[in-house]
């Protein structure tokens, strides 16, 4: 990792010493033991630093019992009361106060969703303050430094009983018919959104789900924040791709983006195209691609449906980042390619058929049968078949070699059967070309072998040349030296002779 990037997030850092020591103890059972321990782990936020004297909460009268004059005042009091936070890691402390806060939050949720005209201008500040106080917090270090979201249980937020209601309240607030973005934008500003986005790294999927809806509503209602939100998501993604490779909320953010892209006006702005090519495509390289590939592929296809001319750069980009060693990812890439081919225009197809089918031909002959199988399934797709048929002259020569080879060599009988079908289909498309290729197959292989030999030969010669050069250089340096010393000698002699 680059020196310019921040050090690995301290869970890895801090724990690295601890982990290496733990490995010393026993590396094998570590994971299983850990898993057993963390059956039901939850985590508090990182903000509880010896808050000793918590004020105890006293229940306020019910809002519905108050007169309409008092209601507003009471509403604000309740909001302020809910700004007080409790430590949920300590399950026995402040039980009474926690219950009061929970009941109050419930009441607030109901109050804003069932009553009209309660969200008045003066309440916005208190509402946003209450929300911020509860949800904005430094996320704690993951207690599992090599958290594998696919395998490990996520650590759940301990204060969820309260936070959930706060999110609930936030959503009702945003969705209320009384809600006025023009007033709210004074409080829900760039800083607010920035903090909201940081929360997407939460390990708790329930929280991320709420955040997704919240952010979507904010994007929809606050036109002035849209560019900012996009840019910040951009930064989060870039950091994820190139610096930390860790961010829990990638899938949720992509899901929001999917619907945002859907609404882009045409022609697409350069900013959006750049986002596609410089963020979304490189994102395919991420280690945890499986966690968000569906959403990512959806975004990519959305772009292509908007603007078909992007097809060529997108496919070339995918080919550039094609997985070299991870078969699981390769299957995902193939799936995405099929999704793209489903919407591709025939003219665009012509532009990328060559590099694309070179890759597909490699996949077809993969020794991993799932990869081969996934690639061969392309031939079950009617639209792709029609594209292949239209361009059979180009595609058949590319595909023929590997298909022919695996029809004889592949270890997996299913693959061999599939390949036979594919070969049959291709033969029906252009029988003559097929026959030509069959007869020239052997010659082709031999030519390849010869080329290989020639290459080796070339490099050998080059190497010799280098040796010769090095030798020459040595000699010339030596000669230079002797010439110099000779001339010096002569120079020394010369004055003497001239004088003489």
């Amino acid at each position: 990792m680059s020196s310019s990037s921040p050090p690995p997030p301290p869970p890895a850092g801090a724990a690295s010493a601890a982990i290496s020591a733990a490995e010393k103890v026993d590396g094998f059972t570590r994971k299983s033991v850990r898993k057993a321990q963390r059956q039901k782990r939850s985590q508090g936020s990182s903000q509880f630093r010896c808050q000793c004297n918590q004020p105890e909460l006293h229940p306020l009268p019910q809002l519905k019992d108050a007169t309409s004059n008092e209601q507003q005042e009471l509403f604000c009091q309740k909001l302020q009361q809910c700004c007080i936070l409790f430590d949920f890691m300590d399950s026995v402390s402040d039980l009474k106060s926690k219950e009061i806060k929970r009941a109050t939050l419930n009441e607030l949720v109901e109050y804003v969703s069932t009553n009209r005209g309660v969200i008045v201008e003066s309440a916005y500040s208190d509402i946003v303050k209450m929300i911020s106080a509860n949800i904005f917090r430094t996320l704690p270090p993951s207690d599992n430094p090599d958290f594998d979201p696919e395998e490990d249980e996520p650590t759940l937020e301990a204060s969820w009983p309260h936070i959930q209601l706060v999110y609930e309240f936030f959503l009702r607030f945003l969705e209320s018919p009384d809600f006025q973005p023009s007033i709210a934008k004074r409080y829900i500003d760039q800083k607010f959104v920035q903090q909201l986005l940081e929360l997407f790294d939460s390990e708790d999927p329930r929280e991320r789900d709420f955040l997704k809806t919240v952010l979507h509503r904010i994007y929809g209602k606050f036109l002035g924040l849209r560019a900012f939100i996009r840019k910040q998501i951009n930064n989060i993604f870039l950091r994820f791709i190139y610096e930390t490779e860790h961010f829990n909320g990638v899938a949720e953010l992509l899901e929001i983006l999917g619907s945002i892209i859907n609404g882009f006006a045409l022609p697409l702005k350069a900013e959006h195209k750049q986002f596609l090519m410089k963020v979304l495509i490189p994102m395919h390289t991420a280690k945890g691609l499986a966690l968000f590939h569906a959403q990512l592929a959806y975004c990519v296809v959305q772009f292509l449906e908007k603007d078909t001319t992007l097809t060529e750069p997108v496919i070339r980009g995918l080919l550039k980042f094609w997985p070299k060693t991870c078969s699981q990812k390769e299957v995902m890439f193939l799936g995405e390619i099929e999704e793209i081919l489903d919407v591709i225009e025939p003219t665009q197809f012509k532009k990328i058929e060559e590099p694309l089918f070179k890759q597909i031909s490699k996949c077809v002959s993969s020794s991993h049968f799932q990869v081969a199988e996934r690639a061969l399934y392309f031939w079950n797709n009617e639209y792709i078949l029609s594209l292949i048929e239209e361009n059979i002259d180009k595609i058949l020569p590319i595909m023929f070699g590997s298909l022919y080879k695996i029809s004889k060599e592949h270890w997996n009988p299913t693959i061999v059967a599939l390949v036979y079908n594919v070969l049959k289909t291709l033969m029906e498309m252009n029988g003559k070309l097929f026959d030509d290729l069959t007869s020239s197959y052997k010659a082709e292989r031999q030519r390849e072998k010869k080329k290989e030999l020639e290459r080796e030969e070339l490099w050998k010669k080059l190497e010799e040349l280098k040796l010769k050069k090095a030798l020459e250089k040595q000699n010339s340096a030596y000669n230079m030296h002797s010439i110099l010393s000779n001339t010096n000698d002569e120079l020394k002699k010369k004055p003497a002779t001239s004088v003489g």
Binding site: S4, A15, A18, S46, R49, P140, K320, L462
Partner: protein, 692 residues
Amino acid sequence: MAGAAGPAAGSGAAGGDGDDSLYPIAVLIDELRNEDVQLRLNSIKKLSTIALALGVERTRTELLPFLTDTIYDEDEVLLALAEQLGNFTGLVGGPDFAHCLLPPLESLATVEETVVRDKAVESLRQISQEHTPVALEAHFVPLVKRLASGDWFTSRTSACGLFSVCYPRASIAVKGEIKQYFRSLCSDDTPMVRRAAASKLGEFAKVLELDSVKSEIVPLFTNLASDEQDSVRLLAVEACVSIAQLLSQEDIEALVMPTLRQAAEDKSWRVRYMVADKFSELQKAVGPKITLNDLIPAFQNLLKDCEAEVRAAAAHKVKELCENLPIEGRETIIMNQILPYIKELVSDTNQHVKSALASVIMGLATILGKENTIEHLLPLFLAQLKDECPEVRLNIISNLDCVNEVIGIRQLSQSLLPAIVELAEDAKWRVRLAIIEYMPLLAGQLGVEFFDEKLNSLCMAWLVDHVYAIREAATSNLMKLVQKFGTEWAQNTIVPKVLVMANDPNYLHRMTTLFCINALSEACGQEITTKQMLPIVLKMAGDQVANVRFNVAKSLQKIGPILDTDALQVEVKPVLQKLGQDEDMDVKYFAQEAISAVAQRLRKLDFPVKDSEEPSAPGADKTHLPRPRGPGEDTGKAQRGRVAGVASKEAVATARFRGPGAAKVSPEQTLPLLSGPVLSKDPTYCPKGEQT
């Protein structure tokens, strides 16, 4: 371009080669366009060869432009290219032409992939040193400016790493510009760039004039340290060290400390972690006075931080912090201001915190002296020796030598023994392995009597552990013990027990006898080896398990040098010759190896050997390589464990514990042993089943 002006010395030579000179560039272009990434990569890696063949002028005029134009490739290829170009100055005609390398590197410094960019920056930094001051301003500085004002964040990020190399050699006017560019990157829009700038801030401060540091760097530092993103703020902590090193005490107090205090109390644990992690550096940089006034209270807070990560990082620094305190008054400060917090940590809820502390706490003994150690530290050590987490106990035991110097180990022995026994019987073999490694150290400190009484039986029990790695470590442990306690001790306590195992029904245990003999023979000397060990080894040559027999051959080869020629000639040789006729090809192979080694030794000792008796040297038998076979000394779980270890990312750690011998086991070698049904006549599991 300056390059075109004068023909360089080497170019004539290249031209002189005629046809040959046309050849490399064609190869390169052909290869660089190859579809196979590996081939492209190969040709890039041999770029220097090509450049050398082309000569400096054609390298400049043809090769470099070609490379500059073709920078759209796999990142792996680009990485290799970026690396190559850093060492290319000589190949383009020396420092006068170094600037020719800038265009391709500039493009590489703008690519997305971080490793490529970093390598390009590294190469640029290298090349910058080869520029003359004039060339630097004419070519290099403009490049830095272009990068610094690039559209995409990547180029601006790369620029951050280049300011410090051009600043010292630039003219005053240019220096001003450079500072201006750096300033603007510190407040860049994208956090990626601010992070890059923050991480280079310290380095840049070091090359600036002191006044500029105070007037320009400090405000940048303050800003970055209060950035809205914690990932930027935490990098400022690192810069803090470099900046503080440059400033006087008063300036540190006025300019740096407010920010540092704030960082130690930051709301993000990542920043606090960084402060804890860099604590020793910070302590040295700010000097003793500020340390006492500011850092110690901050350190106390870090030790009781709400996040275990921070506490563990701080706990790691306890010893260094104490060591670096001024000697005068050190004891009082530690006793009053540090120790109370350490006491708390001993019973921390997080095991990483406890084990971090356990790894350094023993170091305090030397600092605090005998009395304090006995009164204050000893109870902590004892508590940690009883900790539920084996790692904590191990960390304490592994540092016993520090305490031994101060108060002797006897004080601890009462608690030590149960701790050792418990670790020695731990269910995890890695724990057992770790404690075995400390045995020689413990034995040395506890003395032979204590050892014989309490620990000897443990050491012997390990020899029949069901995990090979433990048995192996146990044998080398015995060797070290013999080196410590002498041969007489070995003869009385160890050797008889080892030799009894030669009759064990389990062939794995019988082999352990052989391994022990291999390890012990040298330490025990000729007499014991010849009189006690050799007969047992020879007897085992008739074992029914092939693995035992070929290990006999190996053992004989191993102990050969210790035996006298008589024994070799009369006893060893016939047995080896018999083994050389064994039905098992591996036994035969190892027997022949041993025979030739023994023969060599006999020849060296000028002992005539009849040619007819001498078998063919192993060199002549190269066609036969022993069939892949694991050491095969293991069964079931442990074996699988090791195999899994080799395959997993923990291979390195695993290898360390398994020792060089076992590390050779590859999964392919061992898996057949686990999977296939084994038809063995041996009562115990026999890996060579298919042979018997």
